[in-house]
Symmetry: C2
Subunit: 470 residues, 2 copies
C-alpha cells in the first residue's frame, strides 16, 4: 500500500489535521538541536489520546509499518529522529498533555506523556510539592521522553534518576494493546516489575502514554556555596564530608575546573569570578530542606568549617540571597555554551564509581593531552553521582575541523579509561543511534543477547524505534 | 539418566560433600517455617563459587533438570521449597558467602548471594556505614533471597525497597552463562536495565550470585515516640505533617490498633502499656539522622506539638534513651507472634496508595466483621508505605479450624477492596507458589502475557524455579 493510502487510514483514526505530510509541517520533527541528524518520514502522526495511540500502533503492526515515538525532541543521541531511509513514521506524543491526577497527601501525580517537564514542575509547586527532575531542556522536553531515556540532571544526588521517580506507567505495546500499569503504590511485589523495561527503553519496547510519579516536600530553605579547591582528590573528600553531615539535605554538588570559570568570564553574560582569588578547581554545593525545621545555613557553615580545618578547601563564598544562588547556578549552567566560542569540543558523557572520579580525571586528562598536546579539558558536572561531562576544547589556534576529526579516536581513548574503572560510556544521555555501535565494546555478549531476546519477545516484528540501542 | 547418576556428575563439579542425597541432610531445605510446604527433592546442591553455580546450571540445562534456588529459606510464599513431585533439585547459595569489596567513600558494598543480611549490616557498620534493609528474619535470611524477592521491611519509608538498594548484580542464567552486571555506578543509561528483571524475579529468570549495594551514613542520632490517636484518618494527617517537617529524617512510621497492644500486654514478655491512658490507635514514629548536625529531638517535639494543636494526637511518650526506643520497637515487632495464642489468624499482606489507607481500613474492617461477626482485625504496619498487614484474629471462643477454613473467602473479600483502591495483594512477600493462582484476578491478561514472554525469552526450557509466579 502507498504511504498516501496509509495516511488516509490514519486520518480516519486520529483526524486529518493530525497527520502531517507536508514538508513545512514536518520540519520541526525531523531535525534535532545539534544538527547531527536530518530525518525523512512519510508522515508525522499526532494522536490525542491513549486510545488513538493504540489505534495507530495496531494499524502499524498489522501493516508492518515502522514507528518512531517522539516527545519534546530534545534527545542528544538521535533516537527520536526518523532514519534517512524515509520509511519510519513519527508518532508525536505532544497532544497527550493532560494532568490526570494530583495527590499532594499521597505525594503522587499522574500525567500524560506529552506534559512538558516545566509544566509538571509547576503543577507540583501549586500544591506545595516538588517534582525534582531538573535539566537544561526542561522548558521543552516532555515527561514521556524523560522516562523513556531515564533522564538524569542536577537533582539526581538527592532524588535519584527518573527511574527512581516512577511509580507506575501506562504503555501502548507494539501490537497496539494498552497495558495499564498506572499504580501509585510504594510497595508491590506481584511478579516481574515490567515498568522497568520501558524506563530507559528509549521507545523500543512500547510507547509510554502516561505515568504516575513521586512528589516530594517543596524545599523551604536553600543555601549555596561556591568553593575553591586544589584538585579533584580534595573535592571528593569534601563530598564525603558533606554527605556524612548533610545526608539527604545535600541536593547539589557540582565540580568545575578553573578553565571553565575563565570561559564563563569571557563568554557568559553576567558572569563574575565567584571568589577573590583563583583556584584550580571549584565546587558548587547546595543544601536544601523541605522543612523549616533545619538550620541549613548552620549546616553549611559547619561543613565548610570542618573542610577548612582538614585543608580540603582554599576559599568559599556563601550565597547571601536567592539572587546569588541563581548567579552561582548561572555559572554552572553556562558551562556547555561557553565552550562553543573556544572552538571545537569533543564530548563524553561518562560515569565511574564516585570514589574513582579523581583517579579517572588524572588519567583521562593526561591521556587526551598526550593525544592532542595543548588540548584543553573542561571536565565538569555531577561528581556526587560519579557523572562527569568530560568535554575537551581544541588547543588555542588549532584548526577546528582537524580537531573534530579526532572525535572517535579521542572517544576511544577516554572510554577505555572509563572501562578500566568499570564505568559507563553513557551516564545520562542514553544510546539512541549515536552510541549504538559502541555498545558491543562495553557490554558482554550475553548482556546484548539478553537485550535482543527481550526486544524480540516484546516487539516480535521489530517495528518500534528500530535500530535504536540494538 | 537416574538421579544417582546425575548426583555423581554434580559431585564431580562441586564435590561429593556438597551433594546432599540423604533425608536427614536434606531435611532443613525441604520445610519452611510456617509448615505450609513439605518438599521432596532428589538432591540438595551446595556450590561454593559463581563458577560452580554456572557449572551446575549448565549441566542441568543440558539434561533438562529443574532447579529451585534457595537462600536462607525464610520466604513466606513457598517459592524456595521444591514441589512435592520430587523432580526439582534444590540449589543452596549458602556457601557463596564472601564479602567481595567494601567501599565506604563510594558508599557501596559488593557481597555474594549467601551472605546473611545481619552479617551484611554488621560489615557496613564496621566502616561507619548503614545498610538499611531491616526485617524480622535478618539473622538467617540471605541477601540473594532478599534481592530475588525485593524484600521490604521497616526501613522502606526512608531508604526504599531492596530494589532501590541494588546498584549491580552478578547472575547465572538458566544456561549456566554468567552475566557480570556488578557495577557500582549511580548513573548508567546503556540499554535495558536488565538487573531489574532479576530483582523480585523470585529466581525464575536466573540465579543471583553476587550484588553491589548502596550504603548510607550510619545514624548518629535517633529519637522515637509512641503516640495515641483516635483513628487512621488522624494518623494519616500526622504522617503528612511529620513527612513535611522531617522529610528524609522520618525513618519509621508504624500504625497499630489498641487490640494489638492488648495482645502484647497479655502474651509478650516485657511488654508495658506505652501510654497512661488507652487509645483506639497508636503510632510508633522514629526520626534518625546520619549527621550530628540535626537536633532530632527538637524536630520530634516540633512535629508532635503541631500535631497536638491540630487535634491529631491524644497523647505521646518520648523514648528517653536507647533502651526505651528498643522497648517501643519490641511492641511493634511482637505484633505477629502475639496473635498466635489468640487462636486462628487470617493474614493479608496488602498495599494501597498511602492516602487511601484510612478508607481502606474502614471498608475492610466493616467487611470482615460482616463476614465473620465478632472477628478481631489487628491491622498494623508500614502506613507510610501504604503497606498494612491486615491480619484478622478469630472471634473469642470460636473454633480455630472452622475459622481458618474461611481463609480463601476472607482473602477474596479483602483483596476485592484492595483492588477498588488500585492496590496490591502482595506488598512485600512476593507471589511464589502461595499466591500464584491469585495473579490472574489482579493483573490484566496483557501483563501476565508479557511476563510469560519474558520468562520464555530468558529461560526457554522453563527449568528455573518452575511454577513460581507464573
Amino acid at each position: 500500500m502507498e504511504a498516501t493510502a496509509h495516511a488516509a487510514r490514519f486520518a480516519d483514526l486520529i483526524g486529518q489535521a493530525n497527520v502531517l505530510t507536508l514538508p513545512d509541517d514536518q520540519a520541526p520533527y525531523l531535525i534535532e538541536w545539534r544538527d547531527l541528524y536530518q530525518g525523512v518520514t512519510p508522515m508525522v502522526l499526532r494522536p490525542g489520546t491513549t486510545e488513538e495511540v493504540s489505534a495507530v500502533l495496531n494499524y502499524a503492526y498489522e501493516n508492518g509499518l515502522k514507528v518512531v515515538p517522539q516527545g519534546g525532541n530534545t534527545g542528544l543521541m538521535g533516537g527520536q529522529i526518523p532514519q534517512e531511509t524515509g520509511d519510519e513514521i513519527v508518532l508525536s506524543l505532544a497532544r497527550l498533555n493532560k494532568i490526570r491526577n494530583v495527590d499532594p497527601d499521597g505525594f503522587t501525580i499522574t500525567v500524560e506523556a506529552g506534559v512538558v517537564l516545566e509544566t509538571l514542575q509547576n503543577e507540583a509547586e501549586k500544591v506545595d510539592r516538588l517534582f525534582p527532575l531538573s535539566l537544561g531542556a526542561q522548558g521543552s522536553c516532555q515527561i514521556g521522553g524523560n522516562i523513556s531515556t531515564n533522564a538524569g540532571g542536577t537533582a539526581v544526588l538527592a532524588y535519584g534518576n527518573t527511574r527512581d521517580l516512577v511509580l507506575g506507567l501506562e504503555v501502548v505495546l507494539p501490537t497496539g494493546e494498552i497495558w495499564n500499569g498506572l499504580r501509585t503504590l510504594r510497595k508491590d511485589n506481584t511478579g516481574y516489575d515490567l515498568k522497568q523495561l520501558f524506563i530507559g527503553g528509549e521507545g523500543t519496547l512500547g510507547i509510554i502514554t502516561a505515568a504516575s510519579l513521586k512528589l516530594f516536600p517543596k524545599p523551604k530553605k536553600l543555601e549555596a556555596a561556591f568553593v575553591g579547591a586544589q584538585d579533584p582528590h580534595a573535592v571528593l573528600k569534601l563530598f564525603s564530608l558533606a554527605k556524612a553531615q548533610a545526608g539527604p539535605l545535600l541536593t547539589g554538588f557540582e565540580i568545575m575546573p578553573r578553565i571553565g570559570i575563565e570561559f564563563c568570564l569571557k563568554h557568559l553574560d553576567g558572569a563574575r569570578d565567584p571568589l577573590e582569588s583563583e583556584h584550580p578547581w571549584y565546587v558548587l554545593m547546595e543544601l536544601s530542606s523541605g522543612s523549616e525545621a533545619f538550620e541549613v545555613r548552620d549546616l553549611m557553615e559547619g561543613i565548610l568549617g570542618d573542610a577548612f580545618e582538614a585543608g580540603l578547601v582554599e576559599d568559599a563564598a556563601f550565597a547571601q540571597n536567592l539572587s546569588q544562588v541563581n548567579d552561582f547556578w548561572h555559572l554552572r549552567h553556562g558551562l556547555s555554551e561557553v565552550q562553543k566560542p573556544e572552538g571545537g569540543s569533543i564530548k563524553h558523557d561518562i560515569s565511574v564509581p564516585v570514589a574513582s572520579v579523581p583517579d579517572f580525571l588524572d588519567k583521562a586528562m593526561e591521556a587526551v593531552d598526550a593525544f592532542v598536546p595543548g588540548c584543553r579539558p573542561v571536565p565538569f558536572g555531577h561528581i556526587g553521582d560519579g557523572n562527569i561531562h568530560f568535554n575537551v576544547s581544541q588547543p588555542v589556534g588549532a584548526d577546528k575541523e582537524d580537531y573534530i576529526a579526532k572525535w572517535d579516536e579521542m572517544n576511544k581513548i577516554v572510554h577505555d579509561i572509563v572501562l578500566q574503572f568499570n564505568g559507563s560510556i553513557s551516564a545520562e544521555h542514553g544510546i539512541g543511534r549515536l552510541k549504538k555501535d559502541l555498545l558491543k565494546d562495553v557490554k558482554q555478549d550475553i548482556e546484548l543477547d539478553l537485550m535482543r531476546r527481550i526486544k524480540a519477545a516484546v516487539d516480535p516484528k521489530g517495528l518500534l524505534n528500530p535500530g535504536r540501542i540494538l
